[in-house]
Symmetry: C2
Subunit: 368 residues, 2 copies
């Protein structure tokens, strides 16, 4: 008997050990910045210490808080996943968008296709069934896009906010590679893309407050309050960004993943009111209160940014915290009402013509 | 100049003439019953005159009524087609359904997959983009199914209500052929299927009030008030049916296409209350008042049938009349409320577990 238990334990240790040692070598885990890269980051990023990136304005850098509290503001007692499939739509991208056209298609979580300044701009594309280094284990998505990557239009700019699996998906990037002209990524994330054979000349890495101009569209990297990493070790070796996109018609904000912080005021101070704010709203937890915003904070952030249209993202596809799947939208909506925000909630995969935000206020999550 | 007009006219006449003569030879138009077939129909169908089928209980057989009136009961002034895509779901068929399982998946118009008596039963499958003899012209569907025919489960019974293009689709039947065990069709419709090389032994043609039993499920053909045909000439050479499906757990009714008539009372008289009534509700017109039901009539018919659950079909995919796309559902709903009907309106492509009809009452069409 003793031998049997010993055998089982040994086998388990072997399996976990083998996993722990082999996973870091899986291609999906990505690459590491070189010494030269790090020297470069030191010149460009105030919040880089030579090895790791840091959040500014945070007294305590540790992510986890020991607490048995339950979020007192939760509005929904539903299960973490919807019990039936979510309603979705088929997208209706504009085929040859003009500079003044302005559409948005949300594929769930933080995957967004924006048509702006005559270009197709794709944020954080995740079309895989799981957010994980491997395809057979890890959080499984509870909604499915109605289009495949092969059915997406040519992508002019692909923008990544940070390197977590629910934002940077190996399989999706591989499939998008040939139809994408340029990749905009936070400092360090280029190491993953290079490892995955994305041609170097297509990639631009960016530190906070840097700006580039693509065909007349100004893209500025702005701060976020989060963390990074694709494996247990080596965290925060790459940066986490938010973005402002600006042309002669409008300026929009994409929050990346971020806890509430002073940077929202700072961004508004530099840019003024946003025509659209895409606000991370989901996967928050009282145990990690600083690196994801609570829904009330997300709405408040949109108000600070002077958002003419506000839309909660980072929900509707994956369960990465312990809240009911609709808690984020119910709470964002409640606060948005109090703050008089013009909030939109297009269906999953619906192409919203943002000239008519009033057409995208269906409370489709209510019917589940 | 005279010559030019003459040339154009000649060309037009030639083109239309060529079309008129060639279309009947297109495979999609189907086949014709033989002399022997017709002799057989005479023995089986009271409403067959040797060449054509007839509606009973109708004083005037002509379909069209000359009127400039507009339907006084219309509730919606929306355009005939929705201005944005309809919300849809992904189906969740039960993989190995048991006899007591009871699900319904509506793909728009009259295309329905019923899981009942442990079998997959498919009604009027139309998965093509148009209802027409050819793929490049004809009424185009305004909603798309979220699954392809190849993703449907094995079909135990495929039931056709009549041979109009919006119910009998050549391309869909061809694709379904190999995965379908049996075809149940109105008298005459077997000629189309045979022309399309569906193995004869798979097909059962049925006259009104005939009954067959498949693995313990009784299928009875019941009357409808409609017409048939797949080309300008040779109309009403095939029959139009409604159906009752009955086992030890329940009995359900599928109306086919039908105007209001005495047959609903007759069917209720023979069977008693229905556990589910799938009611044609759409494509009605004051100019053809006898062969399609107005929505108020559809709801009334469900009440006559003693329907414990009522669901309007024949809408949500094609515009074949001149009403706003949501007029049918608004009016059915209004009358259903007055009649105290238990009405369900699952999303397009949603698999409804009919043990919980209260879960399928989302008014998803309201948000468009």
């Amino acid at each position: 008997m003793k031998i049997t238990i010993f055998s089982i334990l040994s086998a388990l240790i072997f399996v976990f050990g083998a996993l722990a040692f082999s996973v870091p070598f899986l291609p999906a885990v990505g690459g590491k910045p070189s010494k030269a890269d790090k020297k470069n980051y030191l010149l460009r990023a105030k919040n880089f210490d030579g090895e790791k990136f840091h959040n500014l304005n945070l007294e305590n850098e540790s992510i986890m808080v020991k607490t048995k509290d339950i979020d007192p503001k939760r509005l929904s007692n539903k299960p973490e996943k919807p019990q039936s499939s979510l309603p979705v739509k088929f997208p209706g991208f504009i085929e040859n968008p003009k500079n003044e056209d302005f559409t948005l298609t949300w594929f769930g979580h933080s995957t967004l296709l924006i048509q702006m300044h005559g270009m197709n701009i794709l944020f954080d594309p995740v079309f895989s069934k799981r957010t994980s280094p491997v395809s057979w284990i890890g959080p499984k998505r509870f909604s499915s896009p109605t289009v495949k990557i092969s059915e997406l239009p040519k992508i002019d700019i692909l923008i990544l906010t940070h390197d977590h699996y629910d934002h940077l998906d190996y399989e999706s990037i591989k499939k998008l590679s040939s139809k994408t002209t340029r990749f905009i990524v936070p400092l360090g994330v280029e190491a993953h893309l290079k490892k995955w054979k994305i041609p170097e000349e297509k990639i631009t890495n960016m530190a906070w407050w840097e700006e580039i101009n693509i065909n007349g569209l100004a893209i500025t990297t702005t701060p976020a309050q989060h963390f990074s990493g694709r494996w247990i070790t080596g965290g925060n070796a790459t940066l986490w960004n938010s973005y402002v996109l600006k042309d002669e018609f409008r300026q929009i904000f994409e929050s990346g993943d971020s806890g509430f912080g002073k940077h929202f005021e700072e961004i508004h101070g530099r840019f003024g009111d946003m025509d659209l704010a895409l606000m991370e709203c989901g996967q928050y937890n009282v145990r990690w209160p600083t690196i994801h915003s609570f829904p009330e904070e997300s709405a408040q952030e949109a108000a600070i940014l002077g958002a003419k249209i506000a839309m909660p993202i980072h929900w509707g596809a994956f369960v990465l915290s312990t809240n009911a799947w609709d808690d984020s939208i119910l709470r964002f909506k409640k606060t948005a009402k109090e703050l008089n925000l013009n909030m939109i909630t297009p269906y999953l995969c619906e192409t919203a013509d943002l000239a008519k935000p009033e057409d995208y206020k269906a409370e489709w999550w209510k019917w589940l």
